[in-house]
């Protein structure tokens, strides 16, 4: 079969999987939060969340009506064929999934305010590329809802404040966001680089599995410390009070300009939807985030 068609079919599957079934790391974290939450209001929210996840999975329908703006991350082997046709295939897949799953049409022209009704448009779906060795193609889909995206924060901090500045910025961002991003959230933090790099890293960070701490022990400790800190705010599930404001914190970093200290915070709602598949040159397809057995 044509590579284009394979990519399109895989991407439709990924979109369906992502919006109807959360990966195991997220489900496990929510289950644990439900067991450990002490606030009655918080527990009621987590129970509704778990019931909703189960229902969506059973019925094969979207967990949340805001199926988000569609982002793709493509990690392609330099020797894979027809890479120039992948973006077109992803566009087609997004249109198909919008009808078939269905997804809510979420692509609006910011000038005319017209909705394209098929989730595609200028730079949407947004595709990020990484070229690696080999000949396989790995595709990740990240549907990102507006409730959590709308409280994203970027700070160009004073380099002299260093990590202390970063910690304060993150805590303040979480308190400012309050109930808006549908907590318990996953916090993606990007530090260093330019403004765009920090944001890019923060968004990429929310894709890291919750049970996989940072490979750098200093950052792993900072992630743990920040998670504990934001859970002291008492904002809790859906902002109705409790000790689970965040399920996890992931930090990614880049080297910075001596005079710049960018810190980006990206929130992902509890409905932390993502799905990844690898297409091998043999044509074999492996789904990495979801068990299709």
């Amino acid at each position: 079969m044509e590579v284009e068609k394979v990519v399109e079919d895989v991407a439709v599957n990924l979109l369906r999987l992502a919006v109807t079934d959360l990966p195991k790391d997220i489900k496990d974290a929510l289950q644990q939060a439900y067991q450990k939450e002490e606030s009655r209001a918080g527990k009621t929210q987590l129970k509704a969340i778990l019931d909703n996840i189960e229902l969506a999975e059973k019925m094969g329908v979207p967990i949340c009506q805001d199926t988000g703006v569609i982002n793709f991350y493509v990690r392609a082997g330099a020797k894979a064929k027809n890479l120039d046709r992948i973006e077109k295939a992803l566009q087609k897949a997004t249109k198909r999934a919008t009808k078939e799953v269905p997804l809510r049409p979420n692509a609006v022209d910011p000038i005319t305010q017209k909705n394209t009704k098929d989730n595609t448009g200028r730079f949407i779906p947004f595709v990020r590329w990484e070229i690696l060795r080999g000949d396989s193609i790995e595709i990740t889909v990240l549907p990102k809802g507006a409730g959590s995206e709308n409280v994203s924060m970027l700070g160009m901090l004073m380099p002299s404040e260093g990590l202390t500045g970063l910690k304060k910025f993150v805590v303040d961002a979480v308190i400012k966001a309050g109930a808006m991003p549908c907590p318990p959230t996953i916090l993606g933090i990007g530090v260093g680089g330019g403004a765009d790099t920090a944001m890019e890293l923060a968004k990429r960070a929310i894709l890291r599995p919750l049970n996989k701490p940072n490979s750098n022990p200093v950052l792993a400790e900072l992630e743990r410390e920040l998670n504990e800190a934001v859970n002291m705010t008492g904002i809790g599930p859906m902002g109705l009070g409790g000790k689970f404001t965040a399920l996890g914190v992931s930090i990614e970093y880049a080297h910075r300009h001596p005079a710049s200290y960018p810190v980006a915070v990206v929130f992902q709602c509890w409905a932390a939807r993502k799905a990844t598949a690898r297409i091998h040159s043999s044509g074999a397809i492996e789904y990495l985030t979801h068990d299709l057995g």
């Binding site: 019931d51 979207p62 009506q65 805001d66 997804l103 304060k168 308190i175 808006m180 409905a271």
Partner: protein
């Protein structure tokens, strides 16, 4: 904290005044979805002394932009979770005053203007778990009708017949209490303790 099963529309102000923040509600009857565009249009029609396509007196308004699918001649609700209520803050006090809405359902809470109107006219704001769209859709037994589809699927006015729609948590009651604001205030107050733990000096 108490659990109530309410029938909507709720004509009696007394039924609303007995509710307190943190109470859990389940609603059976009619609810109407309205987002910012529908709020704006309804208020414009009111100003022009024109009637709305549905009487909102005693009604439950749901801040929601659902995914709805047409199957033959019937609309079927696929997913219908709440949307962020702050977008409706600029309209809601007039809305409660002019139309006599009793229950507003949404997510994320609302501000002082809405809370004041709720106290004055007898209404409550209740939070439906954000993102729990299938749980909400499951409670919808029937789409009674849809109006203003020209605004687009999410912004249209959907009239749902629901059975045990919930759990929804009373977050603003008719006595002036605002749960989201209280929690937000406590979160602000927790800053010094958190800063200290993280070794932040100011």
């Amino acid at each position: 904290m108490a659990i109530y099963k309410l029938k909507s529309p709720i004509i009696s102000e007394e039924d609303i005044r007995k509710l307190n923040v943190n109470d859990i509600l389940y609603i059976t009857g009619i609810i109407v979805t309205m987002r910012d565009a529908a709020h704006r249009r309804a208020l414009e029609l009111f100003k022009e002394e024109k009637t709305l396509p549905i009487d909102l007196y005693g009604s439950t308004v749901f801040h929601c932009g659902p995914i709805v699918k047409r199957k033959r001649s019937q609309w079927v609700v696929i997913a219908a979770g709440p949307t962020t209520s702050t977008r409706m803050e600029e309209f809601e006090d007039e809305f409660i005053k002019n139309f006599g809405v009793r229950v507003i359902v949404g997510k994320g809470g609302m501000g002082k203007r809405t809370a004041d109107a709720m106290k004055k006219y007898g209404a409550v704001y209740a939070a439906f778990t954000g993102g729990a769209a299938v749980l909400a859709a499951k409670a919808v037994k029937k789409v009674k009708k849809v109006e203003w589809l020209d605004l687009g699927m999410p912004e249209a006015l959907w009239v749902f017949e629901v059975d045990d729609f919930g759990p929804i948590t009373v977050a603003i009651d008719a006595h002036g209490n605002n749960l989201f604001e209280e929690i937000q205030k406590k979160a602000e107050e927790s800053k010094p303790k958190i800063y200290k733990m993280l070794g932040i000096s100011r």
